[in-house]
Amino acid sequence: MRFNFPTWTNRFVPVLIVTILGGAAYVGAVVFAATDPQTLNIGHKPTQPVPFSHKTHAGRLKMDCRYCHNTVDKAAFAAIPPTATCSNCHTGADANGSVSVSAVHSDSPNLALVRQSQATGEPIDWMKVHDLPDYVYFDHSAHVNSGVSCVSCHGRVDRMDVVEQVKTLSMTFCLDCHRNPDPHLRPLEHVTDLAWVPDEEPEVIGGRIREELNINPRTNCSTCHR
């Protein structure tokens, strides 16, 4: 007895083709989208042990980034400030309960952890927001001193109550700029001015700065991977 495809199966042939092709395309799209740095990296927004607001400090109070991240132009790491830095303003009451005149929010419950840390010397465990892969060696000083603004990678931190990652910081992201830095360069004095808007074409300004600082970013593997 011979088995053969009954004629009604013919109807399914186009359906089959469509499903196979369509399915493949769909899966591909999903995988692509899912593995995209856009999806993977952007939006990391951990809650910090101390509700520190960049919006308040950098934005409203116009404090310079380097007041706290003071190693950013000297070292690879823009160090998280020591508790002492906070305490410059947010000193708590001293041993005999007296509070210095200049002290700000000296008794705010939000700052309890800061005061405690200051007292005990225990560090505050801040959550890391911008976290590059371990095999990437990024150097803040090299960029800041070449007129690459904080905003290029960290976005308008001065508008964030809670800092979150807004750029992919993927290898493509780095290379785009390394291949064509001009639009991202600005006068050194404006590097930490997140709100700065160029009065002429960014490329033009960038080009000029690139000239005078003779900036020619490398795209060698060993530039970032050692």
Binding site: P46, I80, Y135
Partner: protein
């Protein structure tokens, strides 16, 4: 991926535990450590904080950053800082510069400001950093009672000590005996005297297995008092080393190596000539122009004969060709010494008896070298009084024996039963960095701090006062020696204060804090260097001249001579637990992870043994069994055995019988008696029939005839050598040694107009000391793989120092050649990598992107130098047991830690290039011509390695590449290596120079036509032939007979 380690370490930097550990206010606070926790447990805590980074959130990895509450002054997180300090290794003080990263030292180098090293360092110094993080170090006081051990706190230990010493206070220290490892620390001396004042009855003895008894004795015999000798090898015309490793193991080895290599400049009108008369092949002899291998017992006679010959006025004549080698060299040597009065140096190694040392002093006097090439300095060090200790202990015993450092139970002479002697004391207290064999027979072990953990001071060889500052608070519950001694005195125990007090007493000018801080900053007190002395030469009976040395030795079993050598890896055993050093190939044997019975081919044949045969060495009643290593150039009829192996209580690396870890190698001390500490005659060698494969990194197996002939043919082309005459006649001889067709690339050549990084290695300077290998390992996080993997020829060293023997098997010449990634411009590895993980940078670096590598290993196959290293297994986990995370603190955060399955190789220390580049850029200045130093270059005492920008005419490397001697290794493959070698120039005495026609015939055709390939390949062979006349056949010849 083990990669995450360093980053998590960086986190660790900032975790509370770690900060606490680093910044505890008082050293005493060591007792803040979790009480009663075993090391294992405590390290698990460490481990957990290390693993901290791995806590993963639902979508993003949650990493925490824990900044200081208050950041220390001028500390920039993630930026390295440098501190000068002084570290004493086996009683030898070394002026060092430590690199510290976020409060943890990660590298040690010589202090460039001090002459003793000029910034160079040796393998021991490099590896010392690993000991700092060795969890096998003593971590808490241990009391052993009733055969079992208990971890105690210092509080308990102190209670015990105070109680004991209160008694001694009454008895004026009667019954108290101290056996201290010799130290040059003035503070220690001061406290010792203080103790002696407080406890007059106390007996104090100094001991070190390496104390320079003979040279001291020799000097005393010659001048009536001990003196130290310094040499100016740069301006010396003739240097004669008598059984001495002048450029290596000698206390001033680094300084000597540097001044020697400067004197070896073939372009200067006078190039130093080096004669080496010795038994085992030393690193110094690698650089020698003429070497005579004599049994140690014959050497005295040899030197005596030299004195005789010098005394006689009759003309010296060349010995005829047929005469034994020793006689030929003797004639030339005498001739040279006569010709160069006041321009020669004669130096004797510690192994030779006192008379020989004295004789050397006398000869230097007679030849008028003293004051010119030889400088005498006062020797303030305290004499070794171990023998007195023995007599005292046997006679009296006592209530307490206090051992300060050292390991007499292991390294004292075999015929002294130290363990039994110690039984004569009720209480035995061992205060040392590592618990060892000696601690095992003590009822108290007290942990001593690592030199990098504490304040101290020391006297450098040239008398300079050096200060040691702590780089890190003690990692364990340990105390520094001076703090401990002060504690015994019941005095103030602040290390800093103790040292300052000494400084104040010794050098009033250091009273001012400013001056003191300057000294601490510099690491030493410049003005304290000893002034040369000119002591009166005494009359004494030198060794008798003999003719024994003149004729070749007949090998007669039972009459053999055994020579005990201090090992280039573990020294006297104190580095037995240091994996870096254990795996460091011996400069000449290329042996790792063990010692062996080293004998010359002739000897081996006479005894009917070959490589890897386990033999029994019998010396008056005592015997050991260890495998044979056949080493050309070992004096015929002698067997060399390295001490310092076979440790039973070294640790999890070097062997720990209690933990079930077998000892590494065999303890030669078993046949080493007080009478023959250095060598002995009457050795009997008998095969056991067993075989034991040694872990060797070169010549992995006894080579066959075919391979042998090929090596014979190649060596001359790889390691290019010429005599000084040849060089003067045809400076380009090296370039022309290999002829090849014109080198044309299939592709248009890339031009490098920015920086062009390159390296040059001067074979004329390299003495194959291996320091570069360890330095590289330390700088680049190169893993250790262990003996089995080495046997499988999977060692990971990025830098290998090849050595080839040439010439007669009993009197060979040796050539060394450091080989590392040559950063070829036409890199064969890059062509074949399917994922483009290794590609070229626009500055000519052969970049290796580990995180792109999938490990097809095709690059390794296609690399003609075979310098690529593959992580066949996860070597980190291999070597680091669950409780050894602490080891990870030694890693250099600037370099990726490679995972299993990834290819790795030398990067020209790209991390240093990048950091310097950024620095320079930030400072808006160009990179200096010689600003960037690779790790290997930095340590090289003989300045053989230079690195820099080939496009910068100012740079040393550019000059080196332009040098006439420069040639590219395997350049005929048109791979365009960025590393060039400078040909080696030998400076033989005219009488012993190789037949002229070789030089001429060769130079001739080199000269005639520029070697742009007019030569067919056919005569390349011929060419090689010619070159072999000057570079005779390699000596595995003898192996061939065995094969």
């Amino acid at each position: 991926m083990s990669k995450t380690w360093y980053r998590s370490l960086r986190e660790l930097e900032n975790t509370a535990e770690f900060q606490e550990m680093l910044h505890r206010e008082f050293p005493e606070a060591a007792s803040e450590f979790p009480k009663g926790l075993s090391r294992r447990r405590w390290l698990q805590i460490m481990g957990s904080s290390l693993a901290l980074a791995g806590v993963s959130g639902c979508r993003f990895e949650a990493e925490t950053l824990a900044p200081f509450a208050t950041r220390p002054a001028n500390r920039i997180p993630g930026k390295t800082q440098q501190f000068n300090t002084t570290v004493e290794i086996a009683g030898q003080a070394r002026a060092l510069r430590a690199t510290s990263y976020d409060g943890r030292p990660i590298k040690l180098d010589g202090n460039p400001d001090h002459l003793s090293s000029g910034g160079a360092s040796d393998s021991y110094t490099q590896a010392t950093i690993l000991d700092l993080y060795d969890p096998d170090r003593g971590q808490t006081p241990i009391e052993s009672t009733g055969g079992s051990k208990f971890n105690r706190s210092w509080i308990e230990a102190d209670t015990f000590l105070t109680e004991q010493f209160s008694q001694f206070a009454g008895s004026k220290g009667d019954g108290l005996c101290v056996l201290a490892e010799s130290t040059s620390s003035p503070t220690a001396q001061r406290l010792k005297t203080a103790l002696q004042d407080k406890f007059p009855q106390m007996k104090w003895f100094d001991y070190s297995s390496l104390s320079p008894v003979n040279s001291r004795g020799g000097a005393t015999l010659a001048f009536g008092k001990p003196v130290r000798t310094e040499y100016d090898l740069e301006s010396a015309a003739v240097v004669v080393t008598i059984d001495s490793d002048l450029l290596g193991q000698h206390p001033e080895g680094l300084r000597n190596a540097r001044s020697f290599s400067r004197g070896r400049n073939p372009d200067s009108e006078q190039m130093t000539r080096l004669y080496a008369v010795e038994c085992e092949f030393t690193g110094t002899a690698v650089a020698a122009d003429h070497r005579v291998a004599l049994r140690p017992s014959q050497i005295a006679g040899f030197l005596a004969s030299v004195e005789q010959a010098l005394a006689s006025d009759e003309e010296t004549h060349a010995a005829d060709e047929s005469a034994p080698w020793s006689q030929q060299v003797f004639a030339a040597l005498v001739d040279d010494l006569k010709k160069h009065p006041g321009q020669s140096v004669i130096t004797v190694g510690e192994r030779q008896p006192v008379e020989v040392h004295a004789l050397a002093h006398r000869l230097n006097q007679k030849l008028g070298n003293v004051g010119k090439t030889v400088t005498l300095l006062p020797d303030e060090s305290s004499a070794d009084t171990f023998d007195e200790f023995v007599t005292h202990a046997e006679a009296n015993g006592g209530s307490m024996l206090l051992l300060l450092g050292g390991n007499p139970v292991y390294d004292s002479p075999a015929d002294v039963e130290v363990a039994e002697l110690m039984e004569k004391f009720e209480n035995r207290v061992h205060f040392a960095v590592y618990p060892n064999e000696t601690s095992a027979v003590c009822n108290w072990y007290l942990p001593m701090s690592h030199p990098l953990e504490c304040w101290s001071d020391a006297t450098l060889y040239d008398g300079t006062y050096g200060v040691a500052q702590p780089l890190i608070e003690p990692l364990f519950e340990s105390r520094s020696q001076i703090e401990f001694l002060a504690g015994l005195l019941g005095e103030e125990t602040d290390g800093l204060e103790l040292v300052r007090q000494t400084a104040r007493e010794l050098y009033p000018e250091l009273k001012s804090t400013r001056e003191w801080e300057r000294v601490v900053h510099n690491g030493f007190h410049a003005d304290s260097t000893a002034k040369p002395i000119t002591p009166e030469l005494q009359n004494f009976e030198g060794p008798a001249a003999s003719t024994e040395w003149q004729n070749p030795v007949e090998v007669t079993n039972g009459e053999l001579e055994v020579v005990f050598t201090t090992d280039s890896s573990v020294l006297d055993g104190r580095f037995a637990n240091n994996a870096w050093l254990q795996e460091l190939p011996h400069p000449l044997t290329k042996m790792t992870w063990s010692n062996a019975a080293i004998m010359s081919p002739k000897t081996a044949d006479a005894l009917g043994v070959k490589d890897d045969d386990v033999v029994r060495l019998e010396l008056d009643g005592r015997e050991i069994e260890l495998p044979v290593y056949v080493q050309p150039g070992q004096a015929t009829g002698s067997v060399a055995v390295a001490i310092g192996y076979g440790r039973t209580h070294a640790g999890l690396v070097g062997g720990d019988v209690e933990e079930g870890v077998a000892p590494v190698g065999v303890n030669a001390g078993v046949i080493r008696t007080a009478g023959n500490r250095y060598f002995a005659t009457g050795l009997k060698v008998s095969p056991t029939g067993r075989r034991e494969e040694l872990a060797v990194t070169q010549d992995h197996y006894a080579i066959d005839k075919v391979g042998l002939e090929e090596i014979h043919g190649r060596v001359g082309d790889l390691v290019r050598e010429g005599t000084l005459d040849e060089y003067r006649e045809h400076p380009e001889f090296a370039e022309h040694r290999v002829h090849h067709p014109p080198l044309e690339s299939l592709w248009t050549e890339v031009s490098y107009d920015g920086h062009a990084w390159g390296m040059a290695i001067d074979l004329n300077k390299c003495i194959g000391c291996n320091a570069c290998v360890v330095a590289c390992q330390s700088e680049n996080n190169v893993p250790v793989v262990g003996p089995d993997q080495v046997r499988a020829s999977r060692e990971m060293h990025w830098m290998k120092v090849d050595r080839y023997f040439t010439g007669d098997t009993e009197e060979p010449e040796v050539a060394t050649q450091p080989v590392t990634c040559q950063h070829c411009e036409n890199a064969p590895c890059e062509q074949v990598c399917p994922v483009a993980a290794t590609v070229h940078s626009n500055e000519g670096l052969n970049d290796m992107a580990y995180n792109r590598c999938i490990g097809t290993r095709y690059c390794g196959n296609n690399c003609p130098y075979k310098v690529r290293r593959f992580n066949f297994l996860d070597y980190r986990s291999e070597m680091e047991a669950a409780n050894r995370e602490l080891m990870n603190l030694v890693l250099n955060p600037e370099v990726t830690v490679r995972s299993r399955g990834v290819m790795e190789k030398c990067t020209y220390c790209v991390q240093r290039i990048q950091n310097t580049r950024i620095e320079a850029k930030n400072e808006r200045r160009p990179i200096g011509p010689n600003e960037i130093q690779t790790a290997c270059q930095q340590v090289c005492a003989s300045e053989a390695i230079v690195f820099g920008d080939l496009n910068n005419p100012e740079s040393d490397v550019a000059k080196a590449h332009a040098d006439a001697r420069a040639y590219g290794l395997l350049a005929e493959l048109n791979v365009k290596p960025r590393t060039k070698y400078l040909a080696r120039i030998r400076n033989p005495h005219p009488w012993l120079a190789p037949p002229v026609e070789s030089a001429h015939g060769h130079g001739g055709d080199g000269h005639g036509e520029e070697a742009h390939g007019e030569h067919a390949h056919a005569d390349e062979r011929h060419d090689a032939e010619v070159s072999h006349n000057s570079v005779p056949a390699p000596t595995q010849e003898l192996r061939e007979e065995q094969v």
